[in-house]
């Protein structure tokens, strides 16, 4: 997983993606009174056979990004290129054809499977929609179920008869049915217990190796992302604050938010955990309706609060930092980015 192809053109390319949601007043007129700045101009590439992890806390815009990318919620502005084609301007019909290549697995395996459909039908549905359910349809579905580690005999059962982990495998089988190139995984293991979660992660890993898939893996759990991703983008309040390979991000995180995020996650190792030095973010994430001026993290930033001079702080308040490499070997959106070792 350490070899990251650099030269090959990206499968998926996102440029300046913006997604705003209107905030409307109550009452008859529903006048627009504000804007939720959910995603504010983010750009990244996804290479072939690569896993890009998109991490952030609730409200960081990571799931909105995933949905805007697939045109499930149209983006406000920005471009998404898949194999050279721009997706945001496509008609519904044109987009439908491309959906064969771009599939999504949702977080909640309880809400994303139709409770009134037997599993065979759930997995067959995408094939039927795309007119690919031929005479061998039943065999294809059986093979898909077997591929994700389910028993094909159970195909006539309904989702409620399966455990959470098995349901998530059904979701994966459905996403694989059209033999996609890119899978967007939106918190695919967050609802599962760890012993079950590990099974789904290993499955995704095996599928990627064999099928040569590209994954965009959206998660709030940095440990899971470190495990599965080749590269990681950290999101905060609608922007990417740091992006790099898993190695770079964990060896020397440069943005104070990434550092705080890594610090905040407890290690399942008593001696290491007790001896750890912590960088803590103060307070809560501000509302995306009214993001802070300049650097969006400055209201919670430990560096801003404890280390910077008055003049340096003024820069944080006035200028939004760009996501560029300031000598750490990978881009970070902090005026005073500085790599730190945390383990």
């Amino acid at each position: 997983m350490t070899t990251t192809p650099v030269a090959a053109p990206p499968v998926l390319s996102v440029k300046n993606l913006v997604k705003h949601f209107p905030v409307r007043s109550r009452g008859l007129l529903r006048k627009q009174v504000g804007v939720v700045h959910a995603v504010c101009g983010i750009s990244f590439d996804l290479a072939e056979r690569e896993t890009l992890g998109l991490v952030g806390e609730s409200g960081s815009g990571k799931s909105t990004t995933a949905r805007a990318l697939l045109n499930l919620q149209p983006a406000t502005s920005g471009e998404v290129y898949y194999q050279g084609r721009e997706l945001t301007k496509l008609s519904r019909g044109e987009m439908r054809a491309l959906r064969r290549d771009l599939q999504i697995v949702f977080q909640d395996p309880y809400a994303s499977l139709d409770p009134r459909m037997p599993v065979n039908e759930i997995v067959a549905e995408p094939l039927r929609i795309h007119g690919l359910y031929g005479n061998d349809g039943r065999t294809v579905v059986r093979d898909l179920l077997r591929t994700v580690g389910l028993k094909p005999e159970h195909g006539n059962r309904y989702p409620h008869e399966f455990s959470g982990g098995q349901r998530q495998r059904i979701g994966v089988a459905r996403a694989l049915a059209l033999r996609p190139k890119v899978l967007v995984l939106d918190e695919p293991v967050s609802a599962l217990d760890v012993s079950i979660q590990a099974g789904v992660l290993n499955l995704l890993d095996e599928l990627q190796t064999e099928l040569g898939l590209s994954y965009l893996f959206v998660s709030h759990d940095l440990s899971v992302v470190r495990h599965i991703a080749d590269r990681i983008a950290v999101m905060y309040l609608g922007t990417i604050v740091e992006i790099g390979t898993s190695e770079q991000l964990f060896q020397a995180p440069a943005h104070p938010y990434t550092q705080a995020l890594i610090s905040a996650i407890p290690l399942p190792d008593p001696r290491k955990e007790r001896a750890r030095e912590r960088i803590t973010a103060v307070g809560d994430m501000p509302s995306p309706v009214n993001p802070p001026s300049g650097c969006r993290f400055r209201t919670r930033c430990p560096k801003f609060a404890n280390e910077l001079s008055e003049a340096e702080r003024r820069v944080c308040v006035e200028e939004p930092p760009e996501l560029v490499d300031r000598g750490q070997g990978h881009p970070a959106a902090c005026h005073y980015a500085e790599g730190r070792t945390l383990f």
Binding site: D143, V194, S195, I196, G199, E206, L207, E247, L267, R278
Partner: protein, 376 residues
């Protein structure tokens, strides 16, 4: 019992965090069993759990959903619904709590034993200000206290758990606070009466990680300020590793392993614990293969005899289907595990025992071939 005379005085003992010596037993749970009647039969949520909590220590209880860890502590607090069948014994400083009268429980609950729940939105009342709710806890247990003194103390408590502008916040309603702030309020309420025991049930599960770290700090502060012993219930092994002195691992309503945090994390002697640790992705090192535990936890209705982990266990032998193992000492007298073959775990890693491949290799290979046929 010094705290009983002067309710607002500081802690009776001077705690110094994790290094506190093993003190006297404050809470003693023996053979606690909880069942719920259902149409399918008795749901045996907790099956004979015993543990001791000593003053000053943090006891961690880990287990996955449905393992009975929350029901155990609800039973300790006497908070289970009326149809629950509780047997066994729970003694708080020698006083029996199982079957105790409501009046007796009211004197202990919230005063000597406090509880912190997972979801702060449901444990706070949305129609009262937080100042009122903290003061209410104080006034319920101190007859002579004036309302103003209670509010004064409430502001102090909010300051201890680091709520900015504590005094101003007294008149806020829960919905005006963020999730992290609400959980701080719940912690303030728990420590209000200087309890001897704080039971925290998944206190950070509903929160984002950066806020989770802040709340663990606040809990630590509360524990040190009151000198209370703590039972920390969570599914998060990382939280347990950082906080707990001793750890109990629960599976299917039973304790399957018990020991110090070091025992459990470095030399687990129950295959379930080993598998659980192996299935955890690690933040501090590049990825190794994870070891998922196959199958799912058993239903606790009409359980078959034998060890409940048998269907998922790589070490299972015929005896495991017949005899349910009891907790027995392993590496030291204080480290025990419920497994017939715990000796076989000596020096073994999760990868040695558990299968890491989860897909059907044959089916997957065929799928790859078909995909290639279609695209070519």
């Amino acid at each position: 019992m010094t705290a009983a005379e002067d309710p607002l005085a500081g802690p009776a003992s001077s705690p110094n965090g994790a290094a506190a010596p093993a003190g006297d037993v404050v809470l003693e749970v023996s053979d606690l069993t909880v069942g719920f009647p259902s149409d399918e039969g008795l749901v045996r949520a907790v099956r004979g759990v015993s543990y001791e909590l000593r003053s000053g220590e943090v006891l961690g209880i880990v287990g996955e959903s449905g393992s009975g860890k929350s029901v155990t502590s609800l039973a300790v607090m006497g908070l289970l619904p009326g149809n629950a069948r509780v047997s066994g014994s729970v003694k708080f400083r020698g006083q029996e709590l199982v079957g105790a009268s409501d009046a007796a429980m009211t004197k202990i609950r919230g005063r000597r034993v406090a509880m912190i729940f997972q979801d702060p939105m449901t444990s706070l009342n949305p129609v009262y200000t937080i100042g009122y709710q903290i003061a209410e806890t104080l006034l319920a247990h101190h007859d002579g206290m004036s309302k103003n003194a209670a509010l004064e103390r409430a502001a102090e408590l909010l300051e201890i758990v680091r709520i900015p502008n504590a005094r101003g916040r007294l008149s806020s309603y829960p919905h005006e606070l963020s999730g992290g702030m609400r959980q701080r309020v719940v912690i303030a309420i728990a420590m209000a009466n200087d309890p001897d025991v704080i039971i925290a049930d998944e206190p950070t599960t509903a929160l984002d990680v950066t806020v989770q770290a802040q709340i663990m700090d606040a809990l630590d502060t509360a524990r040190k300020a009151t000198g209370a012993a703590m039972v920390l219930i969570t599914h998060d092994l990382g939280v347990i590793a950082g906080q707990a002195d001793r750890v109990l691992v629960m599976y299917a309503g039973k304790l399957v392993e018990r020991g110090s945090a070091e025992d459990i994390f470095y030399t687990p002697r129950m295959p379930y614990t080993l598998g659980l640790l192996g299935s955890l992705p690690r933040l501090d090192r590049a990825s190794a293969r994870l070891t998922p535990i196959p199958g799912a936890p058993p239903s606790v209705v009409n359980m078959p005899p034998g060890c409940p982990f048998t269907p998922r266990c790589p070490l299972a032998q015929p005896v495991c289907d017949e005899v349910e193992p009891e907790l027995a000492p392993t590496t030291s007298p204080d480290h025990s595990a419920a497994c017939h073959f715990s000796q076989e775990l000596v020096g073994r890693e999760a990868q040695d025992l558990f299968e890491t491949t989860v897909s059907d290799a044959h089916a997957l290979a065929q799928f790859v071939r078909e995909t290639e046929d279609q695209t070519s």
